[in-house]
């Protein structure tokens, strides 16, 4: 998404007054159609990510009761003297929740970084320079 060519560097003096009026931030603040396109892209990437993680949660943790309903022998399965149903619900769910939370955090922050990169080069704001994780 950030593969746009870098902004052209003009050799002439910059027309500062005009540039300030057309930054993405000012488009966002003005609620202009262009600003809305930017907002929509951010919203859509974050929502798609959240729904994707939810889908993984449903397929792993969420399908367990259905699995027990459809596969009755799983309910009484015993390995090394321990009931597998107890381990699946009471222990195995938690690492899945932690892993999903961490994976989401990384990707959500990257989405915001992408959005900032999209917006900041045009604003000339001091926070446009640093790359990568904060």
């Amino acid at each position: 998404m950030t593969k746009d060519p870098p902004p052209r560097v003009r050799v002439t003096a910059p027309v500062t007054a005009r540039r300030r009026r057309t930054t993405v931030v000012s488009e966002l603040d003005a609620e202009s159609p262009i600003g809305e396109v930017y907002l929509r892209s951010l919203l859509r990437s974050q929502l798609r990510l959240a729904l994707g993680v939810t889908a993984v949660l449903v397929v792993t943790v969420g399908l367990l009761p259905l699995l027990f309903a459809l596969v009755p022998w799983l309910r009484t399965l015993e390995i090394a003297g321990v009931r597998i149903a107890w381990v699946l619900i009471g222990v195995c769910c938690y690492p899945i929740l932690i892993a999903l939370a961490r994976a989401y955090l990384r990707r959500a922050e990257r989405n915001e970084q992408d959005f900032r990169d999209l917006v900041a080069p045009l604003t000339g704001a001091p926070n446009a320079e640093p790359e990568g994780d904060r």
Binding site: V25, L28, L57, P65, A85, W86, Y94, L105, A120
Partner: protein, 506 residues
């Protein structure tokens, strides 16, 4: 009786610790902003411990172990759901809610919907959910003190109410933020140490325990999906806990103490980790308890009677005292958070501006706690775990749709949100009223009333979306501006002025 003396000593230590932190907080909190949100100087790790400490209530500390002991493996879904609720909150709510700069759910409703009527409806629901969640904390305190010392049950509930009101009214949020973070570790240690002793005493390891359970005819207890409508009940519980967490008033308030949206996310990830660690312990108590005491004990006090069943003598007294102290830490921390958010809503939306903000906050804290205490003494026999369960169902059927649609769908109108909140509140409220009146029918109706979320949550979503589409001409004027502020990271310098939050800035 030396057992009672040990227990009193341990409970007294927890109460003294809580009061000491409260008095220390009084010396540092000067401005109104300190009172409400600790001036937002709390780091993600401290804040995560505070959220977890506040969240682990009577139901988590005493209720889950007892319920597992009584009902078996299906109850394991409670702690899983209470943890997964924070994952859902992280995915959809954490950062935007912090960026909305709303301090309470009514603040969010007013900010997003630009309607003071929506604010009023949300305020009413916050009071209902907070009271429904507070009653079992007070009742649990009464039962615990009664069991370990023989004191009448009103002593324990009155003690917790008094300590909480002193802490909240004197120190405000900063004192209880520090206090809550400490309480998480107090609770974890108080649950882990007796468990270690009990596990050692159950010589022969886990396979011996499982086989002894098999022998005493507990095969049904060991299997998931027991009883009629088990699949419906399990999925309805999952829905209520996964979606209900985000709408609990004492949870939302905590997010304001994060520095920004990114910090709110990091805090939530830490909360998922801390809760996962804690919730490994109660199921172990449930299994060992079934092994030690059988199915006969009452769920709400089963945990406290386990050391006595395993050892006897001074060791049992000491371990019971440790568990009682941990239980009081649970009652105190959860009640503090609930009284704080109750006082926040009462002082802002009910009492108006007749008093200075700090005085009004103190009066609201005392009043809110006293009224709930009276309700606890009046309402009869609502089991601790079931009252908490219903609070989650009400929250999932009201604030969850409001937050999800309000944050992600610009088409939500004030009329749609209000219609949905009223529908969800009334339909899930039927279950609450039936439970409080002791009406528990069998069959499908009974299943629906004990776990209403599977019906009421989709219904609320449908009503909110349907009415919003029908009134799409009345979409709030500044909705695009609101969406920009909810979703753009703080590092992008969009105009964030003009928020109508009622929390005074320092």
């Amino acid at each position: 009786m030396s057992g009672a003396a040990w227990a009193l000593l341990a409970v007294g230590a927890v109460v003294a610790l809580t009061l000491a932190v409260g008095v220390f907080g009084l010396r540092v909190s000067r401005t109104t902003s300190d009172f409400y949100v600790a001036s937002r100087t709390v780091t993600p790790m401290v804040n995560a411990a505070a959220i977890s400490g506040e969240y682990l209530s009577a139901a988590s500390f005493l209720g889950v172990a007892g319920l597992i002991l009584a009902r078996g493996v299906d109850v394991l879904w409670y702690p899983v759901g209470w943890t997964a609720g924070y994952l859902i909150l992280l995915l959809f709510v954490a950062a935007p809610l912090r960026r909305s700069r709303a301090y309470t759910l009514p603040d969010f409703a007013e900010f997003r919907l630009e309607s003071s009527l929506a604010r009023g409806v949300a305020s009413g629901l916050v009071v209902i959910i907070a009271a429904l969640y507070l009653i079992p904390q007070f009742r649990g305190a009464g039962l615990t003190l009664h069991l370990v010392t023989g004191a009448p049950t009103w002593v324990g509930s009155g003690l917790v109410a008094a300590v909480v009101v002193i802490g909240v009214a004197a120190g405000g949020m900063r004192s209880i933020t520090l206090g809550q973070a400490v309480q998480y570790w107090v609770k974890l240690v108080a649950l882990a140490v007796p468990l270690a002793f009990l596990a050692i005493s159950a010589r022969g390891g886990s396979s011996t325990v499982w086989h002894s359970l098999d022998r005493v005819g507990d095969a049904a207890w060991l299997e998931p999906l027991q009883g009629p409508y088990a699949l419906y009940l399990t999925y309805s519980l999952i829905l209520a806990t996964f979606l209900g967490t985000m709408g609990l008033p004492h949870v939302v308030v905590r997010f304001y103490t994060n520095r920004d949206g990114a910090a709110a996310r990091r805090t939530t990830v830490n909360v998922v980790i801390l809760l996962s660690l804690f919730y490994l312990l109660p199921p172990a108590y449930g299994v060992l308890g079934r092994h030690l005491t059988g199915a006969a004990t009452s769920p709400d006090t089963a945990l406290l009677s386990m050391p006595g069943a395993a050892f006897g003598g001074t060791l049992a007294d000491l371990l019971t005292a440790v568990l009682a102290a941990g239980a009081f830490a649970a009652f105190l921390s959860t009640s503090s958070g609930l009284v704080l958010s109750l006082a926040g809503v009462l002082s802002q939306d009910v009492m108006g501006r007749r008093l200075a903000p700090v005085a009004s906050f103190r009066v609201a804290a005392v009043g809110g706690a006293l009224i709930t205490l009276a309700l606890t003494w009046l309402s009869t026999g609502l089991a601790v775990a079931h009252a908490v369960e219903l609070a989650f169902a009400v929250s999932a059927s009201t604030f969850c749709p409001l937050l999800l649609l309000g944050i992600w769908w610009r088409g939500l109108t004030a009329a749609g949100a209000i219609a949905g909140l009223v529908t969800g509140g009334l339909t899930s409220g039927v279950a609450v009223v039936c439970a409080m009146a002791g009406y528990t029918p069998t069959g499908l109706i009974g299943a629906l009333l004990s776990q209403p979320a599977m019906v009421t949550v989709p219904l609320t979503f449908a009503v909110m979306i349907g009415v919003s589409l029908a009134t799409s001409a009345t979409v709030p004027t500044h909705v695009i501006r609101t969406m920009i502020r909810l979703h753009t990271p703080e590092s992008v310098a969009v105009d964030r002025s003009g928020f109508r939050t009622r929390v005074p800035e320092s």
